[in-house]
Symmetry: C2
Subunit: 353 residues, 2 copies
């Protein structure tokens, strides 16, 4: 992992983030017109070949023998780019001094970073979920830089339901006493309990409800009895233990401050803002876009991708991942992702020729 | 509202609740074979003509000029029946002394109470959501007492996804410092903050996501700016204000201790337990049952009612409420409910004749 400095950054809402660094990784030899930009999701990072292991690599659909792949860590993240946990130029961590950012801020910072690294054009920008929101904003903000885009499991803007459930996640972190107004760094405690609740709620929107039921049903966790004479927090159903495990795993690898900042950015996602509304903004996108959704996605239901496909100015095609997995299928259904990505490249390539 | 005493009650899990009272209300003249038993949902009560105003009354589908309608408040509730907020025979409130109960416990207590009142048979048992779970258990536990049943927006057992999201609701109440282990009564504070979060989460599963989006989209609440330079809890999206309002309304009328006990009962809902599994238990139900679901229900998705209809031993019919409203449509879609209920009575009546 390397980092590039982009100096001071002014957000869409007018706050200044001083001395911003953006982390990135690359794979494959860089040639004329062979650069693919990969955009990660909420708790992802620049190590795209790890979290999209079946999709990016030699001989895979995003073939690093042919393409040069670049992936940055998002502004506000905690995996090398400047975020709430970073050192502030005046000392200490950013904490509560880190402003709210939008998806557009993330893309603007990334654009500056990639320009500094000499990237002017991308054969494709590809991302799912929050990465899909960024890929879509790339098309709206820098159409001259993007030859095509593959956008998975996202919408044209945050829906009220998403804002509702995501705000409960933010609140559960901010209401954890360990949050300390966002300035918990170096205090010896962190709002991991609150982030655990946030993750459990999020995870229930990331997985299909039938898939979760097929795996756990109403089973008791081994050695526990959730149907005793009195309620007891340590007597759990199997699904509770599974969610506890998801919360614990995230606590080991992610910063609650970043979780708040990035979830807030998702709430602010709105392609139509300042562009005459959603459908006009989508119609004005000239970049050829291939849209993919998941039939069982609770968080970004398939009708949202249908809405994108109906309104995008230059629709390359649309694909549906059929899977019980739900939203996370954009990460896990490797075989379908492989086929859809190859189809996207064929269509984008035939258009260019 | 009246109450009937049923003495000491032993739960399925072996705890004893002493000196139980069950509250009830009735409408219409009682005759031979004209009794309809109505079962309320989680935060409902015995005042069925209020929460099902368009469905129960003179000349309505559940016609109180013809039928005698009876509705009890559930065991564990806070609207007249014995629950955590009730006085304990040894003094003080039940609080943490109130045991965990199951849907079957609710039905067993209701059965005893109604027997005491002289009710032996019901022309129909009707309920939705938690009320549907009870109506279904009536069919399994007391088939000789039930001539027919109309069951709306419920499943044969709690799904893992339901348990997952409902457990977050329970946890948000129990982790509120004002909970005090469940013994907050008469202390001057109550876990209304925790119950508020629980209600917001629940409400997001009660309403259709498209309906919520059509009403609020990504609009800012009037006079507030949720897209400022820094996050601020008092600068909200319109949907947050809506959810805050739902939380506030519930705090004014419902006890958090009952909310925990009744949500736990929903988690324990399982028609198959001790009966050879779900499908065998359903197949053994001889009562004619009419099943209704809502096409946009997030909490009890329609495939769960399809599962009921495929496996019930004596299916009278099935109906789908088509509505953007989601789960709550079983309360709000009066016109469709009217038609479905009349159809249920026609089918049940032709069967009896």
């Amino acid at each position: 992992m390397s980092t590039v400095s982009i100096g001071d950054f002014t957000t869409e809402a007018g706050a200044i983030i001083r001395d911003v660094h953006i982390a990135y990784q690359t794979w494959g030899e860089r040639k004329e017109d062979n650069v693919i930009l990969i955009e990660h999701a909420l708790t992802g990072d620049s190590d795209a070949v790890s979290w999209w292991a079946g999709l990016i690599g030699p001989g895979l659909a995003i073939d690093t023998d042919t393409f040069h792949v670049v992936c940055t860590n998002v502004l506000g993240g905690c995996k090398g780019s400047t975020g709430p946990a970073s050192e502030h130029p005046d000392g200490g961590r950013w904490g509560s001094r880190f402003p709210a950012i939008s998806i557009r801020d993330q893309v603007a910072a990334e654009h500056t970073a990639l320009n500094k690294l000499g990237y002017q054009h991308f054969a494709a920008v590809i991302g799912g979920s929050m990465g899909g929101a960024r890929a879509l904003e790339w098309c709206a903000m820098y159409p001259e830089a993007v030859r095509s885009a593959l956008i998975l499991a996202v919408s044209a803007r945050a829906s009220a339901w998403q804002i509702g459930i995501q705000m409960q996640q933010i609140n559960s972190i901010e209401q954890d006493p360990a949050w300390q107004g966002g300035d918990y760094y170096d205090t010896g405690s962190a709002p991991l309990q609150g982030m655990g609740v946030a993750r459990k709620l999020a995870h229930l929107t990331y997985r299909g409800e039938l898939e979760v039921d097929e795996r756990f049903g109403a089973d008791a966790q081994d050695g526990e009895n959730p149907r005793g004479a009195f309620r007891a927090a340590d007597q759990r159903f199997a699904v509770e233990s599974y969610l506890d495990h998801q919360a614990k795993k995230l606590a080991e690898r992610f910063d609650p401050g970043s979780y708040v900042i990035l979830t807030e950015a998702l709430n602010r996602h709105d392609i139509g803002r300042g562009r005459g509304g959603l459908n006009k903004a989508l119609a004005n996108i000239t970049v050829p876009v291939f849209v993919v959704g998941v039939d069982t996605d609770i968080l970004y239901p398939y009708h949202q991708q249908e809405h994108l496909s109906r309104n995008l100015g230059n629709l390359l095609g649309m694909g549906k991942i059929v899977s019980p997995v739900g939203h996370d299928a954009f990460l896990t259904e490797t075989r379908q992702l492989d086929q859809l990505t190859r189809r996207f490249f064929r269509l984008a390539g035939s258009l260019a020729s």
